[in-house]
Symmetry: C2
Subunit: 237 residues, 2 copies
Amino acid sequence: MQRYFAKQKIDNQLILNEEDIYHIKTVMRMDEHDKIQVVYGTKVYLCCLENVNTNIQIMVEKELEVKENRMPKITLLIPLLKEQKMDLILQKATELGVNKIIPIETERSIIKRKEEKEDKKLERWKRICKEASEQSYRIDIPEILPIQNPKNMKMLEGLSLICSTAETQRNIRFVLNSNTTCDRINIAIGPEGGFSPLEEKKWNELGFISVSLGNRIMRVETVPMYILSVLNFYYME
Amino acid sequence: MQRYFAKQKIDNQLILNEEDIYHIKTVMRMDEHDKIQVVYGTKVYLCCLENVNTNIQIMVEKELEVKENRMPKITLLIPLLKEQKMDLILQKATELGVNKIIPIETERSIIKRKEEKEDKKLERWKRICKEASEQSYRIDIPEILPIQNPKNMKMLEGLSLICSTAETQRNIRFVLNSNTTCDRINIAIGPEGGFSPLEEKKWNELGFISVSLGNRIMRVETVPMYILSVLNFYYME
């Protein structure tokens, strides 16, 4: 069943944005009395479509049970990458439960900031995360912050890790086993070629612990999927 | 440094195939005495290029140390998917250390077998795995078998798992913790919509244990990456 995020709830009726209405009517070609799931706030409703061909109404039939997830809140800090790789990361990270994404400037990134295009980019990234949230039946959409420069960042709350190619002793399993009670994990991922030693030092000063992900040589876009898969597994009940 | 797989070793000289020679000379535009890494058998050599502009020779300078990996040998059984998804799986699974891939026919797959095109497909899949092996500095290339129909398959050696959406109790962590000594793991992944109950029963009869991967709803192409990430993490030293 198709799932959408509502922007408003008025009594027994949920209000979707225009794109979603277009999706229901024109892309999915849904009929009168077809059912959809709609998320509003932290709740999920089974809804019935009425007046599909005139002024469509989305009426709540009942509230659905939501399974709680005990994984810590995950923030990924990711470098600027080519569009295709960025899109893949956003889609897969959303599927695998990321909560917040902070795009970061890095020395060795081949993509440079173009401030005049940033609003449009952010808009696009948000849309990808919304769609992936709907498809993977999430009840929330990951938050994406505007691009940050680590020079201007402050320490983040929770356990902060930086994926390091220099670190050979301290691996991610050891660090997770040593921090079993954290409820928030922040992970910084470098671009192709990794963080420079100076950058890594800067992150360390911001409280990010350097960790190794093991011996495999992964492409940048594989790293977020690896980390989130590992965290889902580690916190599986 | 670029890595290639050799097809032959004659004394102190390694022989690459024509595509790789083209890559060295035309794509990478390497020069006289540039260095590359070449894998032959289970060994990795640091090599020097000679006579690049005439009859290129790849001369061994020294043997490099290879880090052993203690992860069990992993076989993935994957459904037939659209080309783009298949390519992504092959690339990422290779990066993350898969040893063997068996494409399988499944009831609900939207891609049907076209026997006349299978040789060409297999050829393409092998090429993707070879390139991904080079890029991720592997010393071996995953083996890809021709498409199999589970009706004609026999039991496989090792621990065999099937990713099930019906199974709610037995999850992958429990199963790994209960089978700590296996040196070979086979994992069957269903298409969009999953395996049918009848198919799952058939796999169970072939010795495949139904396991849940947790509560997340993942796209098919995400599942192999999730599983291989988890196994890399689980067997990390």
